[in-house]
Every structure is written in structure tokens, then in C-alpha cells.
């Protein structure tokens, strides 16, 4: 098996706020292979966006990456200089965000901002404009020649997101990080955007790290899924594996919580923990139906129970009680 | 403004705000200065070693010394005593003016923002008119029309100050008015007055408070300015701006005549500005989260 495009190893990130230290990421392990779409699934506050921003090294000033490696094509991004990282952003790794209209500068034309993506990496002039126009056509936007002179507030949400996608893919990056790109859109538009992303990455061979809180969306679009809870990845596997045979109690709880007609609503007990004072050991233990003594004391490591199938739970450790 | 912000506003109690303000260096310094000023305004005249109006030509233009820590002016009056008396004058002007203009502005802003329509249009045009003049110029015109006196100074400055409050309050009210809990209140039959005072007013108060505190500083500067050019308090009032003006001719060698009153003006404005800034930050922090 070829080495993965992106490998995140044991990433620990803390935020230093007025109220105290928020231990946002507690040893995240993640990998994305070439040409594959991996969904990072989790509730709000689980650390999905922080992980994405850490990969891009776009965290706020009050954040500190305390530990870990982020290997992109074998290079540790955390060791690079700011200038080296700048050259990777937008060209090797791109990112799109949740609210497309606020993600664009309201006082600059759409065309200008698109060309900036090329200009940042040395491509300018007429050639750049042509590339922008053809990319706009590719993402399904009508009349690109008029569109480039429009301002973001004149676009609908769906159109703006297509522009963002175009902008992100202009330099043909190897990895696209999509942070909840459809969450702010209408359901019908959602489907269109998802389709568009799938088409384009297939055509361009781009890998995608797709962040979402919606399991249904993850099921539709991804090859593999990584489930996050309170700052750690608790399970990883193919879409089939995750949905048919969820291993981690949290994943099971998530799947069980999906509303189904004819069935009562099932919820996971308890609340998402505060990351100022997270639970000891396994952060899920206060809500876990299968919690054991060890869970309160020791944080489970992410282990590979089968090739490509990882889970962080004491139940699956060698010598553990099993499912 | 959302329900969340409204909820947080309701958790803002005076002790909490006070603690927030005092925990910042700006707020603490400002509060200390303002407290000092208030104390001086109250008991200053009792502390003054001399009668501020007492002239003694044999002691004119004496430099600072033990007998006269701030020196004497061109009529032999003790400057320290005059500065102390001036504190009461300046602070009275400031508090009265702000109280009046803030109240008028608040009421007009509330009515205008809440009821809208013609009343609102009218208020907007009128405030537009006031904003077409720099504050000092209009105050000068009013003060000139009325004649130099402390009361007229207050009237002049109040006249040019209320529009700011009206606009500020109106903007706030417009935000609040569209909130669903206002609709809900009306749906259960609450009358306009009740809604205005129970639901709208609390949302608006903190804005007025911040502006008023900052305004206290501006009014002190404005009043001093008016007196400086001769349109404010008349001589021999120990008003700080007037004192600076009187010392103008002697600035070359007898620098103390203008310097100390000017310093008093600056420190007073500084105190209120710092306090107002800290107050604004305190509300900002709580409401932003």
C-alpha cells in the first residue's frame, strides 16, 4: 500500500483563553490516502475544525501546538517555516469553509479574489484570467465573464460555495480540506455541491478531508470515515465498516441516534464535556455504557484491529474484554 | 441582538460590572481619578487655603511656594484655591449637562425608534441638522445668544449634546424592536409604555451609560473651551478654562497661571475617558461572549 498523502500523528493542541486552558486536541491520529475522500465526523466542539486549521497552520494566536507531527507527502508541516507553509497553502493543500459568503471579501470582486489564488503562486495576467473562467465553467456557474465582475453579496449561497470550490481547486492541490461546506446551504443545494465535489476530485485526483457533523452526508461522499469525540479520533474505517460494524461505543451511539420512522428516539446519555476540564482517561467514559475501571484512568490508544480498521477503546485491546 | 445577548445582559449586575471595570488598569486609574474629583468637588472649597476671589496686588504673579503651592495669578489670587473651587464648578456643569442631555436624548430616541413613522423621520432630520455643525461652533452661537454665565454655558452644551444620545438610543431600539420577545409581549396584550420601560429600556441603558461617562469628559473640555474664548463663565469665576485664558498673557515667564488649571482640565477629562473606556470594554466582553 502506497504511503498516505497526509498523516496526522498524535496532535495535541491547547488554546490559552481568559477562562483557562482549553485542551482542544488530545492526540489526534488521522490519515488520508491519495485520491481518497475521508470524512472527519463529530459533534460541534469535537475538534474537527481545529484539526483542519492545524494542518493548514491557520490557528489563532492563542493556540499552541504542543506535540505531534503532520506529515504531508512525508514532510512534517509543523517543522516548516512560515514562508514554506505559505507556498503549500492554496497550491498543495486548499481549504473551503462553511459560510461561503462570509468567507469572501465583500468589497472585492469575485474575479479579483479568484485571480489572487493564482497570483499568490506566481501565475498572473491573461493566462490566469483564462484559467479562472474555465474553472468557473467547470464548477457549473453560468456566464463566467459577467460573474467575475460581481461582488460576493450578489451571489446566492450555492453560487458562492461553487466560487469557493473553484478558488480552492485552481492550483490543482493534492489535498482539499472541506470544513462543513454544505451545512449552511439549503438541502437541494447541498446535494448539488456534494455531487460537484465528488465529480471534480475524481477528475483531478484530489484527496479530500471532508469535515461534517452529518453522518448521512459522510456516508454519501466518503471512502473512509474517521469519528472524532472531544479532541480525539476514536474510530476509523471504511464507510461500510463504520456503518455496518461500528466498534467504538460512541460510534454506536451516534448511529443509534439517527432518527428512524417507527422507532423511539435514542440519545446518548450525558453531555459533551467541557474541554477546560476534560474527563480523565478516556474522555468518553462518563457517557459510555461499557465503561470499565481502566477507562477512567488510562486514555486508550488508537490501535489497528484489522488492516485499515482503527479504534481507540480499551474493549478492543489485546487482553481486553472484546465487544 | 439575540435572546442570548439579552440573557447575558440580564446577568450583568452592578457589582459584576464594577469588578470588571476595576480589574483593568485603565478602569482602576479612571475610577480613582473620578473618585478623587468627586471628593474634591464636595469638600474642595473647605480645603482651600484662601478665598478664591480675594485679590492681593502685592502678591501678584508669585511662583509656586509653600504659601501658594500653585502660585498666584495676575490679581494676586491663590491659584490652588481657585483650582479647587473650579473643580466643583466643572463637575457640576458636566453632571448637569450630561444628565439633561442624556435624559432628553434617551426619551426622544426611545419614542422615535419604537414608534417609527413620521416622528422618527422628524427626529432624524432634526438630529441631522444638529450634526451639520461642529459641536463647539453651535455651542458658541447659543452661548453668544444667551450671554456669558455658567447656566448659559450649561444650556448651550446641553443643546448640542442631546442628539448623540437620541441617535444612539434609536439605533439600539431599532435592533431590539424586531426581537421576537417584543412581539410576544404585544401578543399577550402588554401596552406600549410597559413594553418600552420593561423590555426595551434595559437593553438600551448600558449604551447610554457608556456614552454618558465618556461625555462627562467631553463636556468638561467643551465648557473649558467656551470659557477660554470668553463665551462661558464670566470673570471672576474660578472656572478652569477661564483661568487658562487669563494666564495667557503671562505664559512667557509666569507659566503657572495657565498650567495648573489646564492640568486640572486634562486630568478630569482623562479620568472620565478612562472610566468610560473601561466601562465599554466591560460590557463588550460580557456581551460578545
Amino acid at each position: 500500500m502506497s504511503s498516505p498523502l497526509l498523516e496526522v500523528r498524535d496532535l495535541v493542541v491547547h488554546f490559552y483563553t481568559r477562562e483557562g486552558v482549553v485542551k482542544a486536541l488530545d492526540g489526534v491520529m488521522l490519515s488520508v490516502g491519495r485520491g481518497e475522500i475521508v470524512s472527519l465526523v463529530g459533534e460541534t466542539g469535537s475538534g474537527k475544525t481545529v484539526t483542519a486549521l492545524s494542518i493548514m497552520r491557520l490557528l489563532d494566536h492563542n493556540a499552541r501546538i504542543l506535540r505531534g507531527e503532520i506529515l504531508f507527502e512525508g514532510r512534517d508541516l509543523l517543522q516548516l517555516s512560515e514562508e514554506e507553509m505559505r507556498r503549500i497553502r492554496g497550491r498543495e493543500i486548499s481549504m473551503i469553509f462553511q459560510e461561503p459568503k462570509s468567507a469572501l471579501n465583500p468589497i472585492l470582486t469575485v474575479g479579483f479574489q479568484l485571480q489572487e489564488a493564482l497570483e499568490a503562486h506566481g501565475e498572473e495576467g491573461e493566462k490566469a484570467l483564462q484559467r479562472v473562467l474555465s474553472m468557473l465553467k467547470k464548477v457549473g456557474l453560468p456566464d463566467p465573464e459577467r460573474l467575475v465582475n460581481r461582488y460576493p453579496h450578489e451571489l446566492s449561497g450555492g453560487m458562492a460555495q461553487r466560487v469557493m470550490i473553484a478558488m480552492a481547486l485552481l492550483m490543482r492541490p493534492k489535498l482539499l480540506i472541506a470544513d462543513e461546506p454544505t451545512s449552511a446551504l439549503d438541502v437541494t443545494v447541498q446535494a448539488q455541491i456534494l455531487e460537484l465535489i465528488q465529480e471534480l476530485v475524481r477528475e483531478l485526483g484530489t484527496s479530500v478531508l471532508f469535515i461534517t457533523h452529518d453522518l448521512g452526508v459522510a456516508a454519501e461522499i466518503s471512502d473512509r470515515i474517521a469519528v472524532m469525540y472531544a479532541g480525539t479520533v476514536v474510530e476509523q474505517g471504511s464507510v461500510y465498516d463504520i456503518f455496518e460494524e461500528p466498534l467504538h461505543p460512541y460510534t454506536r451511539g451516534l448511529l443509534a441516534a439517527i432518527p428512524r420512522p417507527g422507532r423511539d428516539l435514542v440519545a446518548i446519555e450525558g453531555e459533551v464535556p467541557s474541554l477546560l476540564n476534560p474527563p480523565s482517561g478516556c474522555r468518553f467514559h462518563p457517557r459510555c455504557p461499557a465503561a470499565m475501571e481502566a477507562c477512567k484512568r488510562v486514555k486508550p490508544k488508537l490501535i489497528e484491529v484489522e488492516p485499515g480498521r482503527l479504534v481507540a477503546c480499551h474493549l478492543y485491546e489485546v487482553g481486553g474484554n472484546g465487544p | 441582538m439575540s435572546v442570548e445577548v439579552a440573557r447575558r445582559l440580564s446577568t450583568l449586575s452592578t457589582p459584576l460590572v464594577a469588578r470588571l471595570v476595576l480589574s483593568s488598569p485603565t478602569g482602576l486609574t479612571g475610577a480613582v481619578i473620578v473618585a478623587g474629583l468627586l471628593i474634591l468637588a464636595l469638600i474642595g472649597p473647605a480645603l482651600a487655603p484662601y478665598d478664591p476671589y480675594r485679590q492681593d496686588m502685592s502678591e501678584r504673579l508669585m511662583p509656586p511656594s509653600w504659601e501658594h503651592p500653585f502660585g498666584t495669578d495676575q490679581l494676586g489670587r491663590d491659584i490652588l484655591s481657585r483650582v479647587l473651587y473650579g473643580c466643583r464648578i466643572s463637575l457640576s456643569i458636566a453632571f448637569l449637562v450630561v444628565a439633561i442631555s442624556a435624559t432628553i436624548g434617551l426619551l426622544l430616541g426611545l419614542i422615535s425608534g419604537y414608534f417609527g413613522g413620521l416622528v422618527d423621520e422628524a427626529l432624524m432630520r432634526v438630529t441631522d441638522l444638529f450634526f451639520a455643525f461642529p459641536r463647539l461652533i453651535l455651542a458658541m452661537a447659543v452661548a453668544a445668544a444667551l450671554g456669558p454665565s455658567i447656566v448659559n454655558t450649561m444650556l448651550a452644551i446641553a443643546t448640542v449634546s442631546w442628539p448623540v444620545y437620541a441617535r444612539l438610543v434609536r439605533a439600539c431600539v431599532l435592533q431590539v424592536r424586531s426581537e421576537t420577545y417584543i412581539e410576544a409581549a404585544r401578543a399577550i396584550g402588554a401596552g406600549h409604555a410597559r413594553i418600552l420601560f420593561k423590555h426595551v429600556l434595559p437593553m438600551v441603558v448600558h449604551v447610554v451609560l457608556v456614552q454618558a461617562t465618556l461625555d462627562l469628559g467631553s463636556v468638561i473640555l467643551l465648557a473649558a473651551g467656551l470659557s477660554f474664548i470668553g463665551l462661558g463663565a464670566p470673570p471672576p469665576t474660578p472656572e478652569w478654562g477661564l483661568m487658562v485664558s487669563e494666564g495667557r498673557l503671562y505664559i512667557r515667564s509666569q507659566w503657572w497661571v495657565s498650567t495648573f488649571p489646564g492640568l486640572a482640565i486634562m486630568i478630569s477629562a482623562l479620568g472620565f475617558n478612562m472610566l468610560g473606556d473601561a466601562l465599554r470594554d466591560a460590557f463588550d466582553v460580557r456581551l460578545r461572549r
Binding site: 493548514m56 491557520l58 505559505r86 507556498r87 503549500i88 497553502r89 492554496g90 486548499s94 481549504m95 469553509f97 459560510e99 462570509s102 468567507a103 471579501n105 465583500p106 468589497i107 472585492l108 489572487e116 489564488a117 497570483e119 499568490a120 503562486h121 461582488y151 453579496h153 469557493m164 478558488m167 | 485603565t26 432630520r125 441631522d128 441638522l129 451639520a132 455643525f133 461642529p134 459641536r135 463647539l136 461652533i137 453651535l138 458658541m140 452661537a141 453668544a144 445668544a145 450671554g147 469628559g217 473640555l221 473649558a224 473651551g225 474664548i229 470668553g230 478654562g241 487658562v244 485664558s245 495667557r248 505664559i251 512667557r252 495657565s258 489646564g262 482640565i265 477629562a269 482623562l270 475617558n273
Partner: protein, 337 residues
């Protein structure tokens, strides 16, 4: 709605406001209790003479007629005659205004340069020592009485240290350059009089610094808060995610977006500079509008008071109109409001 429609709308609004200003100045001058005629002729004047002058000046006509007269005359540029200078008020204003214009513009340039730089650095390096110094500077700047600062600076830099020249626009023994615009800096350059230029510059330094200090404080404050606010916005993150050079992120995506409130403040700062001119021109013997108006108000020079107030309001309204137009140019969303 495009730019043109927006401009027209703003112009119409400004005209309306100016009409209101006319009403205000007219009302104000008729509230001035001091009898202007009595002021000229003195209390011993024979009543027939007083009556004659009242009639000449139209003061015995009904109020609304007087107002119509006033407006017609104002539109023709006739603002009456000053009692003190015995010249048409408009002529006085046009003679004294350039000096204030020069002072206000120099102060504004200083204020904008210092204020925007300080505010931007302060925001970009939040929490650093520069930020703290800047915030102290801002608070001091808005709390300092401008007229007192002028006096102190005059005392220190002229009387005590002799580094800068004293009151006045030029060295007292120097012949001024021929008056073309009234702006000595410009006129001296046009006439090739470099000595006058240099002298005027040195004389401008202190008053411009005094007023500029005040302007810089207000502008720095708003720049800082505006930049801080814009820095947090989503589009800045997008710009960085594209791999844009940090310098360009700051220039195109932070500063340009932060400019709007700053531009608005520049408008109100100009009003503050006019006020500052009124307060400080006398100190620096600056022969400008400020000194003229102070005299007019003190001596209740009826016509001059009305004329000056009107003039200043017109200037200020035009400045604010210009600000609105720049605003519309900067932010396309405004035009489509």
C-alpha cells in the same frame, strides 16, 4: 442603484440639511438679545436714527419676510456687513478661510499618517508594548484641552527652547508672497519664494502638531478597533488559506476593509479641527477663520456671527458629503442599499 444615483441622493440630502442650517442660523441671530443697532450707535442714540437704521436693515419687517430676504441674499453670496471690519462678511470669510484651511489640512495629514499607522500597528501587534504605548497616547490625546496644549508648546518650544518660531504665519520681517490662493505654502512655491516656504512651514509646525495630536488620537483609536474587528473576519482566513503573502493579506483584506469607519471618523475629525482652530488660532496669532469668528461672537457682530456659522456649517457638510462618497466608492454594498 449605481454610484450616480447614490451621489444624487446624498446631494439632495445635503441641500436639505443646508436649508435647515439657514433656518437655524437665522433663528439664532434673532434670538441674540443684544440690540445690534444699539451696539453701534450707543445708548445715547436718538430714537429716529435707531428707527432709520432698523428700517434700513429690514429689522422691522415680519420674521418670515426677513427670512426670505436672508435666504435670497445668502444665495447671492451677500452675507451682510461686519460691524467690526466694515467689509462684506463674505469677503472677510474668504480672506481668512485659507489660513484655517492650510492649518486644518496640515493637521489632518499629520493626524491621518500618525493615527492610521499607530492604530494599525497597535492592532496587528495586539498586547505588545507598542499597543500599550499607543493606547496611552490615544487616551491622553482625546483628554488634552487643545488650547492649553498650544500654550504649553508655545511656552516650551518657543519661549524657553527657541526651537520653533513664535506666533504668526511668517517671520514678522518677511514680505509675504503674492496672494493667489491664500495658502502661503502653495503661494510661496508658485512664486518661487523658497525662503517664504521654509518660514511658513516652520510656523505651521507647532499649531499643526497641536491640532494633529488631537486628530491622530481619535483616528488611531478608530483604526485600532476597526482593524481588530476586521482581523477576526472569515475572509481574512480565506485569504491566508490561499497562500497569499501576509503583506497582501494585511493590505488588501484587512486594511482596505477596515478603512470605512476610519474614513467616517476623518469627516468628524475635520469638524474637530475646525473647533480646534477656533480655540488655538488666537494663541498662535493665526489670521484664520477661528480668530475671526471668536471676535465676531465675543462682540456680537451680528452679521459676522450668522455668516461664519453658516460658512462653517457649509464647509463641514461638504466634507461629510465627500466622506459619504468615498465610503460608497470603497464599499459596493452601500450603493445597493
Amino acid at each position: 442603484m449605481d454610484l450616480r444615483a447614490y451621489v444624487l441622493r446624498r446631494l439632495a440630502l445635503t441641500t436639505l440639511v443646508l436649508f435647515g442650517v439657514l433656518i437655524v442660523t437665522f433663528l439664532l441671530s434673532h434670538v441674540i438679545p443684544a440690540d445690534p443697532i444699539g451696539a453701534i450707535l450707543g445708548p445715547q442714540a436718538p430714537p429716529e436714527l435707531v428707527e432709520k437704521l432698523r428700517h434700513e436693515w429690514g429689522l422691522d419687517k415680519p420674521l418670515h419676510e426677513q427670512f426670505v430676504d436672508y435666504v435670497c441674499r445668502a444665495l447671492r453670496g451677500d452675507l451682510g456687513r461686519s460691524i467690526r471690519t466694515n467689509r462684506p462678511v463674505l469677503q472677510d470669510l474668504l480672506e481668512f478661510f485659507p489660513a484655517t484651511l492650510e492649518l486644518a489640512t496640515a493637521s489632518l495629514i499629520l493626524g491621518v499618517l500618525v493615527g492610521v499607522s499607530l492604530g494599525t500597528i497597535s492592532a496587528l501587534r495586539r498586547g505588545s508594548w507598542i499597543d500599550h504605548v499607543a493606547r496611552v497616547f490615544v487616551t491622553l490625546g482625546v483628554s488634552t484641552p487643545v488650547f492649553w496644549l498650544g500654550l504649553i508648546m508655545l511656552m516650551v518650544f518657543y519661549y524657553r527652547l527657541g526651537w520653533l518660531p513664535g506666533p504668526g504665519r511668517l517671520d514678522p520681517y518677511m514680505t509675504p508672497p503674492p496672494r493667489i490662493t491664500g495658502l502661503i505654502l502653495l503661494d510661496s512655491l508658485l512664486a518661487g519664494r523658497l525662503d517664504a516656504f521654509y518660514s511658513a512651514l516652520r510656523h505651521l509646525a507647532m499649531p499643526a502638531t497641536v491640532l494633529g495630536w488631537y486628530a491622530a488620537a481619535g483616528i488611531a483609536r478608530i483604526t485600532r478597533s476597526s482593524v481588530l474587528e476586521v482581523m477576526r473576519r472569515e475572509h481574512v482566513r480565506t485569504a491566508r488559506a490561499k497562500g497569499l503573502l501576509e503583506r497582501l493579506v494585511v493590505l488588501r483584506h484587512i486594511l482596505r476593509n477596515a478603512l470605512m469607519p476610519i474614513v467616517t471618523v476623518i469627516g468628524t475629525t475635520y469638524g474637530g479641527l475646525l473647533e480646534g482652530a477656533v480655540l488655538t488660532e488666537t494663541i498662535f496669532a493665526w489670521p484664520g477663520l477661528g480668530r475671526y469668528s471668536t471676535g465676531a461672537f465675543l462682540y456680537l457682530d451680528f452679521m459676522a456671527v450668522m455668516g461664519t456659522t453658516l460658512f462653517i456649517a457649509v464647509i463641514y457638510s461638504l466634507v461629510n458629503l465627500a466622506v459619504d462618497l468615498v465610503y460608497a466608492y470603497l464599499d459596493p454594498r452601500v450603493r445597493y442599499g
